[in-house]
Amino acid sequence: MSDAGASPLVQVRGLKMHFPIYAGIFRRHVGDIKAVDDISLDIRESETLGLVGESGCGKSTAGRAVLRLYDITGGSITVDGTDISDIDKEKLRHLRPKMQMIFQDPQASLNPRMTVAGIIGEPLVEHMSLSRAERLERVYELMDAVGLNRSFANRYPHEFSGGQRQRIGIARALALHPKFIVCDEPIAALDVSIQAQVVNLLEDLQEQFGLTYLFISHDLSMVRHIADRVAVMYLGKIVELAPRDELYGAPLHPYTQALLSAVPEPDPVRESQRKHIILTGDVPSPSNAPVGCNFCTRCPRAEQICHEIEPEFRQVDKGRYTACHFVGDTAIKTAEPTVGETVKP
């Protein structure tokens, strides 16, 4: 999987995260929800890997599993040269400063009874031995970095707007000089005009501190803006992974094609001329995934083989990976053109 160049900062191989289902009066183990089922990816230093998919596809679970916020079911995770797949809690705690997380809902992820200084300073209390004055100095530094006024340090989260609260969450994630940050839908709860502010801030901070992001989002247009490479998840698996421009310019997997086609275009003339791929039906349950290809129940191209054999996730072009029987060395070019041109319906 790893391409030429520096070795990746984060290496995920065959990651599985299954949640058991217990039923009946004896709480017997009757099945598993396969939230993340055998995914492999690399995240290179200082890059942003976008992880996109619809709700329930397992993208947030994948993000949390990569940080070992769960005890994973299988596979391996290496962060900055250390295999963290099954190390114990105490060792993990010492590694936490290196890898941090920004959560979706800034309302729910900040303790309403703590002041801003308390929230941002808490990781410093946990992991570093600083004097009170040193700590406050660092908190101020962080508030400057994320564009919060220092005079707000003693206020409580409810006194801030959504965008400002997300800045507090970002400052907290930055407190311990992390290398790797998982951003789990950091802008989903914000208004459009505020989203751009936060995304620009994340880009600035990446440049300033050399951060590596795993950017999880369902917003395909924002991911196109921020990510260098993009992985598309469907029902617990990665169906396509490619450099950003290739993925958006010529998506290979039928699901990626449908997903991109479903995003409406903010231009009434182009939108009315564009050909839409409308998927039928809903995503199947991850506890009872279809036999063969996960996407076969909704795929407009599905044939017999798709219902029998699971396609392998493999490299089809330089840096381009996909899991589809019909994408091979002779890559199909029937994809909807998504760059510039439009098609008559």
Partner: protein, 332 residues
């Protein structure tokens, strides 16, 4: 304002004020618009811009406790909705004006079957018998593309997926053949592929049923695909109102222009840096004395701080409330 007198809904000078512990919030300030037969009017704005409150105000959905709704008139079907009794308003809601809410998870009652909830308005508003209502409910579910409609009537909301629940909500809103359908962010809680299904369904239903639709959203992409006219709201006011192609081609208000620039796209060219609207939307503790966008506007000048710009016509069906002229870069 309406050139043709045949508007199905004619709203003039609507105002809504909420009494809160912190003081009065002027959520809707002198909003006037009309809705023509069979058209789809898109309403765009950020949260707190007053788009939902406007629509809820005009059909009396806010309740009477904290909100005061006032205005010149809201004419619908020969009635002024601001001056009718609660009973008459009740009859209008559902039968005359249907409503689809944003969140299909919370707007269906979890303890009743979908069939029961679909049949309830049919029996109350249309005076149908249970058998007739059942028949109609099946037709409605088929209309919105739910397979096995007959069987699904006895299912509970939790047995439906999000997209299916939104289809049920739409079926419910359509059940009494309303003249006007108000859809408040009907696809915001849904995934894009499901949103595409619902948008396709709405386009189809519009042509089949010919009703007028008000579609509230913050997603300019959605609006571009379905609306005939668009009204942009900010600070409880309409800052711009124009036919959809005109609005996207020739936006006049700095807020509309900024909104169109901040939204990245999955197609076309990709900006290296996103354009940002600095600052926050206002909280309206008093009726506007200045332009409510002036604090965030790059073009604001002294007049914007001294007076609230009135809505003026700048073209065919194109209104804007701004003192600044983007063509000349000068005050109007």
């Amino acid at each position: 304002m309406s050139e043709d007198g045949a508007a199905v809904l004619d709203v003039k000078d609507l105002r809504t004020v909420f009494e809160t512990a912190q003081g009065a919030i002027h959520a809707v300030n002198s909003v006037s618009f009309d809705l023509r037969p069979g058209e789809l009017l898109g309403v765009v704005g950020e949260s707190g811009s007053g788009k939902s409150v406007t629509m809820m105000s005009l059909i009396g959905l806010l309740g009477t406790t904290a909100a005061t709704v006032d205005g010149a008139h809201v004419n619908f079907d020969g009635m002024d909705l601001l001056r009718v009794t609660e009973d008459e308003l009740r009859a209008v809601r559902g039968a005359g004006i249907g409503f689809v809410f944003q969140d299909p998870m919370t707007s269906l009652n979890p303890v009743f079957t979908v069939g029961f909830q679909l049949m309830e308005p049919l029996r109350n508003h249309m005076g149908m018998t249970t058998r007739e209502a059942r028949q109609r409910a099946v037709e409605l579910l088929e209309l919105v593309g739910i397979a096995d409609a007959e069987k699904r009537l006895s299912d509970y909301p939790h047995q439906f997926s999000g997209g299916m629940r939104q289809r049920v909500m739409i079926a419910m809103a359509l059940s009494c053949d309303p003249k006007v359908l108000i859809a408040d962010e009907p696809t915001t809680a849904l995934d894009v592929t499901i949103q595409a299904q619902i948008l396709e369904l709405m386009k189809e239903l519009r042509h089949k049923l010919g009703m007028a639709i008000v579609w509230i959203t913050h997603d300019l992409g959605v609006i571009a695909g379905i609306a005939d006219r668009v009204m942009v709201m900010y600070g409880g006011q309409i800052v711009e109102l124009a036919p959809v192609i005109e609005l996207f081609k020739n936006p006049q208000h700095p807020y509309t222009r900024a909104l169109l620039q901040t939204v990245p796209s999955v197609r076309g060219s990709r900006a290296e840096r996103l354009r940002v609207i600095q600052g926050q939307p206002p909280i309206l503790f008093s009726p506007p004395q200045r332009c409510s966008y002036s604090a965030r506007c790059n073009h604001a000048f002294d007049r914007c701080l001294a007076a609230d710009p009135a809505r003026i016509s700048v073209g065919d069906g194109h209104d804007v409330a701004c003192f600044w002229d983007p063509e000349t870069g000068e005050p109007r």
